[in-house]
């Protein structure tokens, strides 16, 4: 029986009546390689499908990258507790009413990333402030190497939500810091706690990590 006859037979059974269960005759198992030349219609269908699926795959690669800006956008949403980009942005000094009834403990933590060759410390590790009251805390950083260094301090808040209420007027973390060989610098950070800070928070830990960016900065 050839392909045409076979197709005829299939057509007859398929078009004739409703088929309740599918049964296949087991006659055509022993074909040969050259028996099978993919019929044109299927080949065209395959080509089209493969092209579409490949486009999906490439688009998904792009989607992986699209997640990067998408992540930043989503993290802007108010209910997402993440250190806001504001934490490294200067906010103009505004006069708040000082809430003397509340005491907020601020703890400062200083860390060096991996093997950043620096000395880095806060001059005060802990202070107590009233919301609305401006304070300046000095940090000291020193380049321990014989070469100039470009470094960047990145803040991190705990609890993260408090970063919204921790307003900085001046900070060494706003930009990269350049150090001459063995140069030590005292750098101020001036801030206020916005009195809108929810009453749940009595302690805020602010951690700064210094990253050595010299290599990256040079290559740019």
């Amino acid at each position: 029986m050839n392909r045409v006859e076979n197709d005829e037979k299939n057509k007859k059974y398929l078009n004739g009546s409703r088929i309740d269960c599918v049964c296949y005759d087991d006659l055509r198992y022993g074909g040969f390689a050259s028996d099978f030349t993919m019929n044109n219609e299927v080949a065209v269908k395959n080509k089209k499908l493969v092209r579409n699926l490949a486009i999906v795959a490439v688009a998904m690669f792009g989607f992986g990258y699209a997640l990067v800006p998408l992540y930043d956008v989503l993290c802007e949403w108010k209910w997402i507790e993440r250190d806001r980009p504001d934490a490294i942005k200067a906010i103009p000094e505004t006069a708040y009413e000082i809430d003397v009834n509340r005491n907020i403990k601020i703890e400062f933590l200083t860390t060096l990333n991996e093997n950043t060759p620096m000395i880095f410390r806060a001059e005060q590790t802990q202070i107590t402030v009233h919301p609305g009251e401006y304070h300046t805390v000095n940090f000291y950083a020193e380049n321990k190497t014989d070469k100039p260094m470009i470094a960047r301090a990145i803040p991190s808040f705990s609890p993260a939500l408090t970063s919204t209420y921790f307003e900085k007027v001046e900070c060494f973390c706003f930009s990269e810091q350049t150090f001459a060989p063995h140069e030590g610098k005292t750098m101020p950070m001036r801030f206020v706690i916005n009195p809108a800070l929810p009453y749940d928070y009595q302690t805020i830990t602010l951690s700064y990590t210094f990253f050595d960016n010299t290599q990256n900065a040079v290559k740019k």
């Binding site: 392909r3 299939n10 055509r28 099978f36 992540y71």
Partner: protein, 540 residues
């Protein structure tokens, strides 16, 4: 049964040399035959199962007692990382692709895969990818040791191996995507007449859905490791806090891939279980269409639950709640499947040959692994379980006595069809019982260790964890050794097995359950060169 008589039509035009496979070893390099490629995938996966297994044995030997015995911590961490990568990308995934290659054309009445040459290419790219990743073991600084999830910044401390591991992931990704495209094209375009979508065997259905999952997620994984590469070597700052990046972002992108990835390994498992259980229960599968919809539902849900791997990174409360409830939803379609398998067996005339034994063990033990998953979906308690041996126990229950057991079941079930020889049932049953008992000795105590606070990925541990670790290791050694029985069975069956003559349907009435059982045993090199003829059903 048949209204038409079987006859073997020779068209005049073909020559004798086209009748069979190429002669000599070159056959395996150049082949485009789905059965050859399926065999290569399966044997490669089996080899990688033993390589990954050997790594697991090193891990269990080191953890047999507290203190450092055999390997240094860096190498230990390489072993946990490489064990995972080899087992996921070298053993389980290729084994299912191998089954898909062998069985899908035979199940839907197609002569071969839709794209035979690409099929060959995806296999050899897989081999290249795995060799590349294995080569990192011998590099300065050792193989990646930061866990298979490759989290930055830790993974960026990998030595010379990092770019090689990343390119290996690219190769494996491209190979999987090509495999998936091929399988989807085969299923959608190459079905025999009257093989409508809702008449396809469930193994075909689950692979169709898995194929779409792979196409959607593998490129995202490739993207995330490319970002690691550029962060390390080209001064981008996707995950580098110093440049304004965020390491948590990596975890989001990774798990967008990683969560569907675990379903890539379990959905075809469901498909094989749904194929085997009805045959040995001698009943049609209970709830066929609900199985299809449940599979699709699980696949959909897998895309919207990824952050349950990240409950402890500091997600907002709303996020914790959403990912908690969404994760719990997965239990519903999965429960539908478990009930359907149980209902299929209910009042069936069951017999307990090796494939069925492995399948029943799968239903029971996978459910157990599912329940521990449900425990961890509860965000507040996950803080206790996170990164402990509890999670290790959980995912090993859903992978070893589930995916691996079902792969064993599939091997026993189809080997007589593939080779034309019957395997040794006695040794098969011995293999089953040793595996089923030892796998529980191996992994069950790890629940207790995790609840008691033992962290994962550590070469040494506090003294109070000693007893359960020793028991777990003993279970591991027995489990590892019993798999050698399977190796013996595979070799023995290929060489002739019991010598018993195998009928075409092999298992009683199997031809009612799948088109592949209408073919002779062993299966000829080419099958369904013309689509099978549809005939009216006049038999019971």
């Amino acid at each position: 049964m048949s209204a038409v008589t079987a006859e073997h039509a020779h068209d005049d035009h073909h020559d004798d040399h086209a009748h069979g496979p190429e002669k000599g070893w070159l056959r395996w390099i150049v082949t485009t035959n789905h059965k050859d490629i399926g065999t290569m995938y399966l044997l490669f996966a089996l080899a990688m199962f033993f390589v990954g297994g050997a790594m697991a044995m090193i891990i269990r030997a080191e953890l047999f007692e507290p203190g450092l015995q055999f390997v240094d911590p860096q190498f230990f961490n390489s072993m946990t990382t490489m064990h995972a990568l080899v087992m996921v990308f070298g053993a389980v995934m290729p084994a299912f692709v191998g089954l898909a290659n062998w069985m899908i054309p035979m199940m839907i009445g197609a002569p071969d895969m839709a794209l035979p040459r690409m099929n060959n290419m995806s296999f050899w790219m897989l081999v290249a990818g795995i060799l590349l990743i294995a080569s990192t073991l011998f590099m300065e600084g050792g193989a990646p040791a930061g866990g298979w999830t490759l989290y930055p910044p830790l993974v960026l401390q990998t030595g010379k191996a990092l770019p090689f591991a990343i390119f290996a992931v690219h190769l494996l990704g491209v190979s999987s995507i090509m495999g998936a495209i091929n399988i989807i094209a085969t299923i959608l375009n190459m079905r025999a007449p009257a093989m409508t979508l809702m008449k396809m065997p469930l193994f075909v259905w689950t692979w169709l859905i898995t194929g779409f999952l792979l196409i959607a997620i593998m490129p995202v994984f490739a993207g995330s490791v490319t970002m690691l590469l550029t962060d390390k070597f080209f001064h981008t700052s996707f995950f580098d806090a110093a440049g304004g990046g965020d390491p948590v972002l990596y975890q989001h992108i990774f798990w967008f891939f990683g969560h569907p990835e675990v379903y890539v390994m379990i959905l075809p498992t469901f498909g094989v279980a749904s194929t085997i259980i009805p045959v040995f229960a001698r009943k049609p599968l209970f709830g066929y269409s609900s199985m299809v919809y449940a599979t699709a539902a699980i696949a959909f849900l897998s895309f919207i639950v990824w952050a349950h791997h990240m409950f402890t990174v500091g997600l907002p409360i709303a996020g914790e709640l959403y990912f908690m409830y969404a994760t719990m939803l997965i239990a519903i379609p999965t429960g539908v499947k478990v009930f359907n398998w149980t209902a299929t067996m209910w009042k069936g005339s069951m017999t307990f040959e090796t494939p069925m034994l492995f399948s029943i063990a799968f239903v029971v033990l996978f459910t157990l692994g599912g329940f521990t998953g449900l425990m961890m979906s509860i965000a507040p308690v996950d803080f206790q379980y996170h990164d402990t041996y509890f999670i290790v126990a959980h995912f090993h229950y859903t992978l070893v006595p589930a995916s691996v057991f079902i792969l064993m079941a599939a091997g026993y079930y189809w080997m007589p069809k593939w080779t034309g020889h019957m395997y040794n049932e006695k040794i098969g049953q011995l293999h089953f019982w040793l595996s089923a008992i030892s796998v529980n000795i191996l992994f069950f105590p790890q629940h207790f260790l995790g609840l008691a606070g033992m962290p994962r990925r550590i070469p040494d541990y506090a003294i109070q964890f000693a007893d359960w670790n020793m028991i777990s290791s003993i279970g591991g050694f027995i489990f590892g050794a019993s798999q050698l029985l399977f190796l013996w069975i595979v070799i023995d069956t290929i060489k002739g097995g019991t010598g018993e003559k195998v009928s075409d349907e092999v298992w009683e009435d199997a031809h009612k359950h799948g088109l592949e059982w209408t073919l002779p045993s062993p299966v000829p090199y080419h099958t369904f060169s013309t689509p099978p003829t549809v005939i009216p059903c006049d038999h019971d």
